[in-house]
């Protein structure tokens, strides 16, 4: 995080000290580090003369900010209408059980993180799971283990 903190100073330099700067700073920090860490919140708090609690309150309101790092691979499960009908929710639950994490979390070894999405736009292939930029259609619970082994 050492280098992170120095680039944090670079981010903060661009903004005036006013409450309105908070969201742009958060966005820029997330772009830089991939997530909003407690250290980042601490630095922003000192810069904007707000408390960490106020900043977390604002940041956690928006779904665009995440507070845990991303994994090396992102698994996205489609829960759109077509996928839902063909068992998308069951797939998500199976993945949660398999990876031992909840939706929105990241495995302790940082290998995978898991997200749900409303529609990926390829309903003909339902149910669909996306890993990084690869789409896997006609998914089933029994295919999960084999599929995940492809990703290190």
């Amino acid at each position: 995080m050492e280098s992170g903190i120095s680039s944090m100073a670079g981010i903060l330099k661009e903004f005036p000290v006013e409450p309105g700067s908070l969201i742009p700073i958060l966005q820029k920090s997330q772009k830089e580090f991939g997530f909003i860490s407690p250290q980042v919140v601490e630095r922003i708090a000192a810069f904007l003369k707000m408390t960490e609690n106020e900043i977390y309150g604002v940041a956690s309101f928006y779904s665009q900010f995440r507070f845990i790092p991303k994994g090396r691979h992102t698994i996205t499960v489609c829960l759109g209408t077509a996928c839902h009908v063909r068992g998308g929710a069951i797939l998500l639950e199976a993945l949660e059980r398999h990876l031992e994490i909840k939706t929105g979390e990241c495995t302790p070894d940082r290998r995978f993180d898991l997200d749900a999405v409303a529609c990926l736009g390829c309903c003909a292939l339902a149910p669909v799971v996306k890993i990084d930029n690869n789409i896997y259609g006609n998914m089933a619970v029994i295919k999960i283990k084999e599929l995940l082994e492809k990703y290190e």
């Binding site: 407690p38 003369k49 707000m50 309150g57 309101f61």
Partner: protein
């Protein structure tokens, strides 16, 4: 302006909301999120009204009243909508008891109580019958809830001291969050996430303790439901009555009200609407006082030491024994320790009594040394916190506002957030630090240097460079600067030099001075009684020149000094090691009427709230009984006669300079890179010689004593963690202390707070060194750790 509400004409001076005007007229508009100390919010939507010429239903709490407005609060459409809104709120709140047909009988006979659980009803809720939601349901009238009921199933949070939180009962009115941010300027809690997943708390999933909460309790007071509950009075139910009083724990003597049920003080609250007003109390005034009053360790009967052990005796026997002890004590051979927390009446009675009962007694109090005398010499000029509210520059000097002096830190926070520049001189991070424009950390051991620089720059002209010159220039430019000086300055080895420098600064700038200290009525002691310094009396005891030692609300010894007889008159028993011959139980602040000198020097009165427990008596009555036993018949201590002895303004007389005292500890100029600076502090959390942490376990958690507290960076570097022990050497002696971690301590410094008793140890009448630098030379902290 004039307006009409429900066909009644209402009038208001100045700007007000419809809700405010209506409440002033006694028209009840149901509301939940509106709070008198907070800005209009319009969250709960219950206070909707109809205003002629306005579209829809505006909320009364956010709509300003205007000339000629015609408002209706009770139309059928409004009631319908309110019922709908309230049902939505109740669908996520345990509400079976609110709509149960047998609710009224159940309150009296509890016939249905087994059928409802905590998760569905009200009877198991700590705020039952005091809940604003219940009140709203009664006013709006709800018979059923047509929405599906949802229970959040969150685990109640009980890990933090002083209050519990069960967010299953929360209605998200945001009053706790807003009172913490707007009113207390602390912002320890926020609304986190959104929608159904909304929670309330500090950042990430930190506890209140980790988030450096001040535990002022404003959020608990502001909560309209049972979501937040004081641990101490959780199951006491509602209070029968409230009695106004004054907090006895520090020099600010805040107004409090004591909540009383039967003959018990079940809690203390800030003035205002009980169960609503957030107020300006600190954790001690809000939570610790009722623990003190109700503690099971309180002495209830007089106790005497016999050759075969201690036993309880009657007041008659105790008074005769005390009288005999005083009579057998020779001229100038009685020493009386008076607590600085006594009321003016108690002090006047003590003086009257001892001057009649013994020949030339010595009066002192354990904290009174030369440094404190110099502090009080300066304090005579102190103004009240209210008087600095028009200042345009604030400088605090060694103020540690953590869990202390809340009205003062609040005033600083408010002024600073209005744009008044605030400078903080000192090492400790406290609630005001976030608002400081400049934080200056003086070099340990040479803390007076910066203050001297400022004083020098003020007289030498504006050319001075450096931090001192900069602050001097700001002081010169300011029209009404204020200097805030805390008794924490007395923990420094250079305290006297620092105080002299502050005096020079004040003289040269005409800045107003506010002093704060933890010795509530020290001004009263110094005004009414000819005091000697503690050092002078300690030397008399050490030289065997004292026969009888009478400790009144002061316990300066941890073991028995060499005296013939020892009487201890207090609320709590002294340690067994003190081997007191006589222990007399006294009433405490809630059980007496009296007065203190306020910070401005005027007299402030308070009334008794409850009777004392057991056979405990007020100090005056104990003196009267002893006087009677001694045959002094005319000492009756009539309250009015006593009151006449007390001047309306404090006239502080300082004790004679203690010339024989050992010289102050030498300073060392430099700090080494390897070692830690040790700042030894006298704990500011004591009352009548008792460490408040022993009475209030929560206080011991948030402000631990006998613990070496480090900055988290230092503990990470040393590889130690909270709970480890560290050995500290001082000459031949060696003692182990547990490690504490706090962000309030700067890196490189470690703070050791000692409870009051140990500091004035009589067996060892050498001066206690508070200087971090001086201690560093003699004591070394060894990083070698050992787990407990």
């Amino acid at each position: 302006m004039k307006l009409s509400i429900d066909n009644r004409s209402a009038e208001t001076q100045g700007p007000a909301t419809i809700l405010q005007v209506a409440s002033a007229q006694g028209i009840d508009i149901p509301h939940l999120c509106s709070h008198p100390e907070l800005a209009p919010y319009g969250g709960c939507r219950l206070c909707i009204v109809e205003v002629e010429g306005m579209r829809g239903f505006p909320t009364a709490c956010t709509t300003p009243a205007a000339e000629g407005m015609v408002v209706r609060t009770q139309s059928k459409a409004l009631q319908e909508t309110r019922r709908e809104i309230l049902q939505l709120i109740l669908s996520e709140h345990p509400s079976a008891c609110l709509i149960c047909a047998e609710a009224d009988e159940c309150r009296d006979f509890q016939q249905t109580i087994r059928k409802v659980s905590f998760t569905t009803g009200c009877r198991g809720c700590p705020r039952d019958e005091e809940c604003e939601l219940q009140k709203a349901v009664r006013t709006v009238g709800i018979e059923e809830i047509t929405f599906p009921v949802y229970f959040r199933g969150m685990t109640p949070e009980t890990g933090d001291p002083f209050f519990d939180r069960d967010y299953n009962l929360c209605i998200y009115c945001g009053r706790c969050v807003r009172i913490c941010q707007e009113h207390r300027k602390s912002a320890v809690i926020s609304l986190k996430k959104r929608g159904r997943l909304t929670t309330i708390g500090p950042a990430f999933s930190r506890s209140h303790l980790e988030a450096d909460c001040e535990f002022c309790g404003a959020c608990v007071s502001a909560c309209p439901t049972g979501a937040m509950a004081e641990k101490n009075r959780k199951w006491h139910g509602s209070a029968d009555r409230h009695q106004d009083s004054l907090c006895p724990l520090c020099s600010l003597n805040c107004e409090i009200q004591i909540a009383i049920k039967g003959n018990r003080a079940i809690g203390t609250l800030p003035p205002g609407e009980p169960g609503q007003a957030g107020g300006e109390l600190c954790v001690k005034g809000r939570f610790c006082l009722s623990e003190w009053v109700n503690h099971p360790w309180r002495i209830l009967l007089p106790r005497m030491r016999f050759p075969e052990g201690t036993g309880t005796v009657s007041w008659m026997e105790a008074a005769q024994k005390a009288g005999a002890m005083l009579q057998n004590s020779g001229k100038g051979k009685t020493a009386i320790y008076l607590s600085p927390f006594l009321t003016l009446e108690e002090i006047a009675a003590a003086r009257l009594f001892f001057q009649r009962a013994c020949v030339s007694p010595h009066f002192t109090t354990s904290v009174l040394d030369q440094k404190l005398a110099s502090f009080f010499a300066l304090s005579r000029k102190s103004v009240t916190v209210k008087e600095i509210e028009d200042s345009d520059l604030l400088i605090s000097i060694f103020l540690n506002g953590n869990h202390n002096y809340a009205p003062l830190t609040l005033a600083i926070k408010r002024l600073a957030s209005r744009g008044v520049p605030y400078l903080q001189l000192g090492w400790i991070t406290d609630p005001t630090s976030r608002f400081a424009e400049l934080r200056s950390m003086p070099e340990p051991g040479r803390e007076d240097r910066l203050l001297n620089d400022i004083a020098h720059a003020l007289s030498a002209g504006t050319g001075k460079s450096g931090e001192g010159g900069r602050i001097a220039r700001m002081l010169k430019a300011a029209k009404a600067p204020a200097i805030i000086l805390s008794a924490d300055v007395l923990n420094l080895s250079s305290a006297e030099a620092a105080l002299a420098a502050v005096a020079r600064i004040i003289k040269r700038t005409h800045a107003r001075l506010v002093t704060v200290h933890p010795y509530a009525n020290m001004a009263g002691l110094l005004s009414l009684v000819p005091m000697e310094t503690a050092g002078a009396v300690l030397r008399l005891i050490a030289h065997g020149q004292i026969d009888t030692l009478y400790l009144i609300g002061d316990i300066p010894f941890s073991s028995r000094p060499a005296v013939r007889s020892l009487i201890c008159q207090n609320v709590f028993p002294p340690t067994d090691l003190l081997a007191a011959d006589l222990v007399l139980p006294t009433a405490t602040f809630s059980e007496i009427s009296g007065s203190y000198y306020s910070p401005g020097g005027g007299r402030r009165h308070f009334q008794e709230a409850i009777p004392p427990p057991g056979s405990a008596l007020p100090h005056e009555q104990i003196f009267a009984r002893i006087a009677q036993a001694m045959g002094i018949e005319d000492l009756k201590f009539d309250p009015e006669a006593l009151s006449r002895l007390i001047p309306t303004q404090a006239r502080i007389v300082l004790p004679a300079r203690d010339v024989a005292a050992a010289p102050a500890a030498k300073r060392t100029a430099r700090r080494s890179k390897k070692g830690f600076m040790l700042l030894q502090e006298r704990s500011p959390h004591s009352y009548h010689g008792v460490d408040l942490g022993t009475i209030s376990p929560g206080l011991a958690v948030i402000a631990p004593v006998d613990t070496l507290i480090f900055n988290p960076e230092d503990t990470a570097r040393l590889g130690i963690a909270s709970g480890d022990t560290i050995k500290m050497k001082s000459g031949q002696a060696e003692k182990a202390f547990p490690v504490g971690v706090s962000k309030t301590i700067p890196p490189g410094l470690t703070v050791l707070r000692s409870p009051v008793q140990d500091l004035a140890s009589a067996a060892n009448p050498r001066p206690v060194r508070f200087s971090p630098a001086a201690v560093k030379k003699r004591k070394k902290t060894s990083p070698g750790k050992s787990h407990v």
